[in-house]
Each structure stands twice: as structure tokens, then as C-alpha cells.
């Protein structure tokens, strides 16, 4: 049994967080993400959780890391300018392997940009916004239903992999209202706690799973957490061999799990000569355009990365040799990945940066142009 409800993307994201077991939210208001904070402010105290409005986004990111270290599933939400401010402590959470979820409802930038207009301007910032080599997971919903489902997944990934997860939404899905089916129960993953005594606990063990067990502060396992490069015992080190071991594990910790982390959708690909690769809000327009093109007899298919980081390159590699069209609400960000995987000559771009959604017509137009060229 599930209940159908009419909901906004941001609301679905908040509901997904609650279903996943969120207990702590810290944030700073910013359009178009604020609804998430407002819902959390209302609901968290009702379920024994905590909401706090911090003095800025730097503090918000810090506070959710602190809360997560005490065992609480923790969430923050923001948009472009705030996402920039969160980067340093996002890096801290990655380095210290503290699970948390960071929602970025993207708006048009740079700087204050177009605060209420949609964009996909932070794709590369989500990947490389914080300094240093690091793994990251970023999920990109293109419907309200997915805002709900992927937020649950984001928490599950965060807990399982001791890894901050970015929900990279855009204003289109964040403010869209549509029907969602809320399941009665969802699969919820909890972080792995140590199974050994405090004396035997190695907080940053380089074990085979690549993911060390995590003790909560206050549970009797006293250990050190630092953003300095550290050894297995958590203490800072300057020894190259220890540093290398830590960084090797950290930067590759997601590798054994990629097939579960890299989510994507494939439609009408078998005979497709041209594949439209789209994600987030514009994927809706893209799919409509693909169907319209099919009804005109054009062999067009649709590939949608749902996990954009780590980019599902093997899935896309299967189609190397075909033509690609990549519509994005930015001046060309994820397209670089697609070019890297299938070759630059195979890829056409379609970019819109005026703060308006790319329309199905626009994409259909380009499909026709490219297809005449192909034939």
C-alpha cells in the first residue's frame, strides 16, 4: 500500500529525509531551497529530532557533521551561493568520513545570479568544489517522485559508505508540483558500528570493505577526528607511507560499490542512432522530445544519468560510436564527461543559460538538425 499525494519537489525531498530517519537539520535560508528548512523546522521537534537555523552555510555544514558524529542522520539544504560556502566543510566530512546529506537546489549563477530561475550550474562544483582529491556522490532527480526516492537513497549511501552525499536538484524539480506515491515503508540503511571493544577499535581501518566501522561520540569509543591526513588510528601523520595508504583508500572507497551507486535510466536505445543524454529537470523535456522524434520516424534514444557523480561511464561506454546530444541548463558542464567517454566528435551540445527551462521543442529542433546531418 502507498499513499498518493500532490507535492512539491522540495517537500518530497523533506519527506524522503524523514522516511530515511533524519534527526538533525542545520541550515541557512536561501531560495529555491528554503521550503526544506521550513518543513524540517516544523517536523523535527515532533519526532525527537533537532532543527537549528545557523548563522551561515559554513556553520550549517559544520553543525550537521557534529550531529552526525553523535549518531544522528543529518541534513542541510542550500542553493548556489550557499553551496559555495559549504565547500570547505564538505571536504572535511569527506576527509573524516562523516555521513551526511547536502541538498543543493540549483539556481542560475555565477554569484547571486538569478535567484528564482532554474539552472544546472553547479554540476562541476558538486564534483570538484572542495579542494583536494576526493570521492563524491551526487544524485540528480528529475521528478517529484524521485526527489523523495533519491533522498532516501542519499541517506542510505551516506550511512553505508561514510560519505557525504549531494542531492543535486534544480529549481525545476524543487518547485514542481506533481503526484507522488509515498510507500508505507522504505529500505533504510544504518551505518556500521564497531563490533569490537573500544580497546580494539581502529576508527580509520584500511579494511577490505574500504569502509571502516563508525562509533558515535559518547558511546565509549574515544577516538580522534581530524581533517589533517591521518593514520588508521585517526591521529595526524606526516609519514608519506601512512598518508598514501589513507588517500588510496579514501579516493577509491566507492569503487567496489559502483554498480550499486551509479544509477541511470535507458529508454529506446537499442536502435538509436542519436542518444539524448539529459539529467535533472531538462531530462523531462528531453524525453518528450525523444518520443516526438520517434513519432517522426527518427531513431533517437534517451540516456539519463541519475547518479551524476561518480559518472556512470561504463553504462554509457556501451554506446560509443553513436551520436550524442546533451541538453543542459548551463554552458556545458556534464557534457565534458560524455565527451570524455564517447569522444568529442560524437557529441553535440544544447545549452540554455537565460534562466528558462529548455523546452521539448528546442530539443526536438536540435534532434532534427543533428539527424539530417547524420543521414
Amino acid at each position: 500500500m502507498s499513499k498518493a499525494r500532490l507535492m512539491q519537489g522540495n517537500e518530497a525531498c523533506a519527506e524522503g529525509a524523514l522516511a530515511a530517519g533524519v534527526k538533525f537539520y542545520a541550515g541557512y535560508p536561501i531560495t529555491p531551497s528554503t521550503e526544506i528548512a521550513e518543513i524540517m523546522a516544523e517536523k523535527l521537534p515532533l519526532i525527537g529530532g533537532t532543527f537549528i537555523q545557523m548563522e551561515d552555510e559554513i556553520g550549517s555544514m559544520a553543525a550537521i557533521i557534529g550531529a552526525s558524529l553523535t549518531g544522528a542522520k543529518a541534513l542541510t539544504a542550500t542553493s548556489g551561493p550557499g553551496f559555495s560556502l559549504k565547500q570547505e566543510n564538505l571536504g572535511y566530512a569527506i576527509a573524516t568520513e562523516v555521513p551526511c546529506v547536502l541538498v543543493n537546489v540549483q539556481r542560475a549563477g555565477p554569484s547571486t545570479g538569478l535567484p528564482t530561475s532554474p539552472a544546472q550550474a553547479d554540476v562541476m562544483q558538486a564534483r570538484w568544489g572542495t579542494h583536494g582529491d576526493h570521492p563524491i556522490i551526487a544524485l540528480c532527480p528529475s521528478s517529484v517522485q524521485e526527489c523523495y526516492e533519491l533522498t532516501v537513497k542519499a541517506f542510505n549511501f551516506a550511512e553505508e559508505f561514510r560519505q557525504p552525499v549531494i542531492m543535486l536538484m534544480d529549481e525545476v524539480v524543487g518547485h514542481l508540483r506533481e503526484k507522488v506515491e509515498l510507500p508505507d515503508a522504505v529500505e533504510v540503511v544504518e551505518r556500521k558500528k564497531p563490533s569490537v571493544s573500544p580497546d580494539e577499535y581502529i576508527p580509520y581501518a584500511n579494511n577490505e570493505s574500504m569502509i571502516p566501522a563508525m562509533a558515535n561520540f559518547g558511546d565509549g569509543y574515544r577516538y580522534h577526528v581530524t581533517g589533517l591526513t591521518h593514520g588508521e588510528n585517526g591521529l595526524p601523520t606526516g609519514k608519506p607511507a601512512v598518508a598514501e595508504k589513507y588517500l588510496e583508500r579514501l579516493t577509491r572507497k566507492l569503487d567496489p560499490y559502483l554498480d550499486r551507486i551509479q544509477l541511470y535510466e535507458e529508454i529506446l536505445l537499442e536502435d538509436a542512432e542519436l542518444i539524448v543524454v539529459a539529467y535533472g529537470g531538462p531530462a523531462r523535456s528531453a524525453l518528450e522530445a525523444v518520443h516526438a522524434a520517434r513519432s517522426e520516424g527518427l531513431n533517437v534514444g534517451f540516456f539519463r544519468p541519475i547518479t551524476i557523480w561518480p559518472f556512470p561511464q561504463e553504462a554509457l561506454e556501451k554506446y560509443a560510436g553513436r551520436q550524442f546530444l546533451v541538453p543542459e541548463m548551463n554552458s556545458g558542464q556534464l557534457v565534458g564527461e560524455i565527451e570524455r567517454v564517447v569522444g568529442r566528435r560524437q557529441v553535440q551540445r544544447l545549452n540554455r543559460i537565460d534562466g528558462e527551462l529548455i523546452t521539448p521543442d528546442q530539443i526536438l529542433q536540435r534532434i532534427r538538425e543533428v539527424m539530417t546531418h547524420v543521414q
Binding site: 538533525f24 521537534p45 515532533l46 545557523m54 559554513i58 558524529l69 553523535t70 544522528a72
Partner: protein
Amino acid sequence: MFSEIAQYFRTEALPHIWCPGCGIGTITAAIVRSIKTLQLDQNNVVIVSGIGCSSRMPGYLDFNTLHTTHGRALAFATGIKASRPELDVFVIMGDGDASAIGGNHFIHAARRNIDLTAIIINNSIYGMTGGQSSPMTPHDKRATTSPYGNLERPFQILDVAKAAGATYGARATAFHNQLLTKLIVNAYNNPGFSVVETISQCPVSYGRRNKFKTPADMLMWQKEHAVMIGQKEAVGEDFSIGEIFKSEAPEYTGEYAKLRQRLKGE
């Protein structure tokens, strides 16, 4: 005697990084002694710090310890305390850490009156980065980035704390170690945001540039210029030590707990 407090140290993390003559070691001992005096459960104590020489302290201590980013210790600590109020949370910061890059978090932690015990180690300088001026470098004193003397006026961090809403403020020095221990105990016992400013010496990056020949000279300066609050007024280079202010106000996590309770009733 170190053996009395050895149980609170991670001996495997030693030797420490501090220079000979640095004040942070004696301050560390005072903090640990106050925790011992308070008989706090080691498993329940969290020590959070920012970045700087002072902030390296938690790494040497056997508690739940969190060495965060520059200036952000109080924001991390706020998340810890708000999420799990039963934990005893101490926050260690340098003067630059607390008052420059962390100034915003400092005034808001004070405004919320959240039950954290904040210890600012004021060595008048950016120690870790080699002696640049901080917002707490005294006027006219020299630093690598104020080679002609500091043009700016320093913060009186306890005035800032009080104005922003903190409910306890005290000051001691590395020299006045017993007083410091007592003040940290009292700060912990205050149910709200408590600040203990500790005047410390950085012989390498501050002393050398400011006519202090030895670390001992700096300790003598602390001894000679500290005046006990209520006994004498602090003038010129003198500064007050002791309990500088104390008041009562609702504490953040307590208020949040009441909110949850109230909502249950509705």
C-alpha cells in the same frame, strides 16, 4: 605531577608539536585537571577545536576529540551539543580562530547561550602560520604582517562575549594555572555559553618581535600585569583576571527540549 593526569592523555600521540616555552602545554594541563576535578566521565567528554597551534591540543587528549576547520569549532560543537545535550562539550580555540575567521560563530554561540565551555588561548598572534597579527594583537605590537606595529585596535573578547549574550566570562593566564583550573571548573558548571580567555605566551612568533628575551620574561609579564578583578582596576597594559561576568539566561538545548515536550502535550 603528570602521573596524576596521565590517564587523560594519548601518549601514543606524543611528542607534541609545540615550541619550547609555549604556554599551551600548561594550559592543557589546567584543562585536564579541571576535568579531573569535575570527575567527568571520559567517555562523555567531547573536545572540539579549530585550526592553529592551540587547536592541536585535543589530538593529545583521550576523550572524544574533534579537530575541525579554522574558525568553525563552535559551529561543529553546536551540532554535537544540540544533537546530544548530555555530552560535556569543551571547545578550544586560538585567538585568531575564535575572533577573526570564527567571529561570527562566536557571537552566535553566545547569543544562543548554548551550554559549551569555550576556552580561548590568547597568545596575541597567529602562531601556527608564523606570527601574523590577529584581531587580538595589542595595538602597536609587531607581527610579520604588522612590521611597523599593529595599527588596529584589538578585540576585548570577553566584552564581545558578554554583549552577544554569553552567561559566563573569565580570564586567567598560563602563569595563573591554579586559578585557570578553578575558572574552567566554574565555566563548566555554568549552564550556558561560557568563555574562559587564557592569556598565553608565544615566545617564538610573538615574544621575539616584541622585546621579550625569554619565555620566562613573558610569564613574568603575565604575572605583573594581571590584576584580580574587584581588587584593583586594570590600567595601561594591565588586564583583569578572575570571573569577569556571570549572569543567567535560558540555555538553547534546554529550550529545545522544552519545545519538544510542549509539542508532545498538544
